[in-house]
């Protein structure tokens, strides 16, 4: 192992910023990060061991204890649940003879859950040693079980297990035609970089991650910073459950995304760019590296790009299972080899980003659009959409509909239209923008996709009338508690309290004041949290409480108070140890005076 770590560190130039990439390699080889490896790395990278430990313990895909040689993770998105994930997971556990959360005794296989893997249009999904599995069913599980028991290396597994469809059902302005390689850069150099930025400004393009900051303004600010070392970062940490459009863009439109990044570099004066790719999309890594190589060979990356004196290259950095890294400053921390904890703002990344230098962070779709705008002009884009939301939005549609997949719509399109196109029937409601977004009921389908109405990073999950809304809220609420980085009090403690309080009500232990207490807790989390995760973590409860208060109230008992824990269950240990079976050895959940 010593030699492996030594070589690995050397390959990464002993740079602590590469810590995640180094740890990924160690985890992949040993199925955990051994204490000896941490000691050795601390020396090689010249960092305190505690910094390495804190990174290992922050990211879900790193472990201090050994996992199985085959590490299986099952996606826990609500859409996986809607596709029968619970039963399938129990089946898998039975077949593999390993409990969820455990490693099998022989060390061959381990099984656990993981947050949404971005395969909602082809779930139930999972990961084996980081590689995406789709359309899991009993037949596939039987195959996988055999492969694992025979200890067949992944390379020898049938490729159809790993087959991933793009599922582009409705291409629009951007997806109908890709730009030619180098077209955006050629046009930009010809037109002039300032003029090209003006076109992007004219296009009205706003960030596609959801927040909607004007792209041209962000690039402008960054280019005006005094420091000459600047960075371009493409945020491909697509972690919002129900979102998978970046997966498709990087699979089939990667050239154009990289071109958008290079265009940005030319405009702001950056020499280095990063694609921060979520760990769940490991399967895209090799093909993306090939595309970067192609672009280098074509003179579109590297030294003196297109003979215009632009030096710029792109490095791919992989995440390791942390939703919070989709937040731009947390992503930058992660790029620097640290836990993904959002920074205090100001300063913003455009002034102090990666390594404290001015940095533009944009979504995959934003770079894709910027490249197309450079070619086709600002008016081409601005002629579509609404006054405040120009252009189109690419949606990831999943849940109860006939044709889940990728749909591109002009801003201003109604929810009704979207539902018709994807073949959704008897719809109860739609979660727009993922768990951090808004739940809208079937009384609101005339609402529009737009920053001024329903803003979304692209997640669009449909629920038909057979679904229980509280199951959805339960899934989302547990998701946020799991993904909270733990930096600030309201989110760290609040999301766990929210989970408990929500469970208390849903499990039927709620009483008169419990919904009020739930709402009060939501307001503290929303109002005082450090970043977007905490500020939106209560949205699932708040948006459904607003629309379906009776769903919550009906769960309450008509009593003044009931404990939030199982009182009789709390006696179980003592009862067992004392061998008691008499009536006095039990407690009712509520006193007899209450009905």
């Amino acid at each position: 192992m010593k030699q492996f770590i030594q070589d690995l560190s050397e390959k990464n130039h002993h740079q602590a910023t590469r810590l995640l990439q180094i740890l990924r390699a160690i985890q992949s080889r040993y199925h955990y990060v051994p204490a000896d490896a941490i000691e050795q790395l601390a020396g090689l990278l010249n960092k305190p061991r505690t910094q390495i430990i804190s990174v290992v313990e922050f990211y879900s895909f790193f472990h201090l204890q050994p996992k199985g040689q085959f590490e299986i993770l099952i996606s826990d998105s609500i859409t996986d649940h809607m596709l029968g994930k619970i039963n399938l997971t129990s089946y898998l556990a039975r077949q593999l003879k390993v409990a969820v959360g455990e490693v099998r005794e022989d060390g061959i296989v381990s099984l656990d859950n993981t947050s949404c893997t971005g395969m909602c249009d082809q779930g139930p999904a999972g990961l084996v040693n980081g590689y995406a599995l789709t359309r899991l069913d009993r037949a596939r599980i039987d195959v996988i079980t055999d492969l694992i028991n025979q200890q067949k290396p992944l390379a020898a597994w049938p490729v159809e297990l790993f087959h991933i469809e793009d599922n582009i059902h409705k291409p629009g302005l951007l997806l109908k035609q890709q730009i030619n390689q180098g077209a955006a850069l050629n046009v930009a150099f010809k037109r002039g970089l300032k003029e090209t930025l003006a076109e992007i400004d004219k296009s009205g393009l706003r960030g596609r991650g959801g927040a909607g900051f004007k792209t041209a303004m962000k690039w402008q600010f960054c280019s005006e910073e005094a420091q000459s070392e600047r960075y371009v970062v493409c945020n491909a940490d697509e972690g919002e459950p129900g979102t998978f459009k970046d997966r498709v863009l990087l699979n089939s439109f990667a050239h154009q995304v990289f071109e958008g990044m290079t265009l940005c570099a030319a405009i702001i004066g950056a020499q280095k760019g990063f694609l921060y790719l979520r760990g769940e999309y490991l399967y895209l890594y090799d093909q993306l590296q090939c595309i970067l190589d192609e672009r280098r060979k074509a003179g579109l990356l590297g030294i003196d790009i297109l003979g215009q004196g632009l030096n710029f290259d792109i490095e791919i950095c992989m995440g390791a299972g942390a939703y919070i890294c989709g937040e731009e400053s947390a992503l930058i921390e992660s790029l620097e080899g640290k836990p993904g904890i959002p920074r205090n703002r100001p300063p913003y990344p455009v002034t102090q980003g990666y390594l404290g230098k001015p940095t533009v962070v944009n979504n995959v779709e934003t770079f894709l659009a910027a490249a197309a705008i450079a070619v086709n002009g600002g008016d081409w884009f601005a002629s579509v959409g609404t006054a405040k939301s120009k252009g189109t939005k690419i949606l990831s549609i999943s849940g109860d509909c006939a044709r889940p997949g990728i749909y591109e719509y002009p801003f201003g399109t109604t929810i009704e239209t979207v539902l018709m196109d994807c073949g959704a029937a008897n719809v109860m409601g739609v979660q727009v923008g993922g768990p951090s977004g808004t739940f809208i009921s079937n009384q609101e389908f005339d609402r529009k996709l737009a920053f001024e109405d329903l803003a979304t990073g692209g997640s669009f999950i449909i629920f038909d009338e057979s679904r229980n809304i509280l199951d959805m809220v339960n899934n989302f609420t547990h998701f946020f508690a799991h993904e909270s980085c733990g930096f600030c009090t309201p989110c760290r403690v609040g999301t766990s309290l929210l989970k408990k309080q929500f469970d208390k009500i849903v499990e039927g232990h709620g009483s008169a004041g419990d919904v009020a207490a739930l709402e009060e807790l939501c307001q503290v989390i929303k109002g005082y949290s450090h970043c977007g995760l905490g500020q939106t973590a209560a949205n699932p409860v708040l948006t459904t409480l607003e629309r379906y208060p009776e769903l919550y109230q009906d769960k309450l008992k008509k009593i003044s108070y009931e404990p939030g824990f199982d009182l009789d269950g709390a006696l179980e240990i003592a009862r067992r140890m004392a061998n008691r079976t008499d009536a006095g050895a039990h407690l009712t959940q509520v006193g007899e005076d209450h009905e």
Partner: protein
């Protein structure tokens, strides 16, 4: 004309580059806080110092003072929510004041007193957390750690040692020590390090000194943190 901000209708001058907290402290205005200490890089994690700046919630210890800001600090709404945040800290850890040497000198407790917090409101986590008594002079009780990172910052910025770090994610965070064994005794921590004395709660205690000042005569026993806290921070400033 010097620049000013307004906190609860009081005009407060400030110098360019100061945070709201720094300007307020210099003017003798107390804003509740736990993770902030004037000598260290602001952290902004406890969220107690949240104030309302021109209608928006901002963390006073990290947010820059800007000419003309209208800031609300001592309002019922803010203090009610600050109390809830303090209660969150109390149920997250295991803060059994009657058995703690720090009682009466504890800032977490003092903020609770200041906010008239009479109960813990939420359901307790009763999480199991470990103690480290290995060091000859310093005791660490993780039950009382609130993740303010003051010890982390003090050790790095003042002692030049990097003895402490916060590891883990979300509710599973914990304070870890920089030694191969993971034990405090094998770190470079010395009893005179600032990191050993900076803890706002009873998570880091100096051994054999716990009761040199009797309960009832301690810092917050009779004076609230708004008075003593500011005095202390002024004197810390020198």
């Amino acid at each position: 004309m010097s620049k000013t901000i307004t906190i609860d209708s009081k005009m407060i001058p400030f110098q360019e580059g100061q945070t709201i907290m720094e300007a307020a402290t210099a003017a003798g205005v107390y804003i509740p806080h736990l993770c902030h200490h004037p000598e260290f890089t602001p952290h902004g994690s406890c969220k107690l110092c949240t104030v309302n700046v021109n209608g928006r919630g901002c963390t006073a210890c990290t947010y820059p003072a800007i000419d003309g800001q209208e800031i609300l600090n001592e309002t019922k709404e803010l203090n009610d929510d600050r109390r809830k945040i303090t209660q969150m800290l109390f149920v997250e850890g295991n803060h059994l004041c009657p058995g703690c040497e720090k009682s009466g000198n504890c800032q977490l407790q003092a903020v609770g007193y200041y906010l008239n917090m009479l109960d813990n409101h939420f359901a307790h986590f009763f999480a199991r957390r470990d103690l480290d008594a290995s060091h000859p002079d310093v005791l660490i009780d993780r039950n009382r750690c609130i993740f303010c990172t003051l010890c982390v910052r003090a050790s790095r910025e003042k002692d030049g040692k990097d003895v402490f770090a916060i590891s883990g994610r979300g509710i599973n965070k914990q304070l870890v020590f920089n030694s191969e064994s993971g034990q405090l005794k094998d770190t470079g921590l010395g009893v005179n390090d600032q990191a050993a004395h900076i803890c706002p709660t009873g998570a880091i205690l100096i051994k054999r000194t716990g009761f040199t000042v009797p309960i009832g005569e301690r810092r917050f026993d009779h004076n609230d943190i708004a008075e003593t806290g500011l005095e202390q921070e002024h004197s810390d400033h020198g």
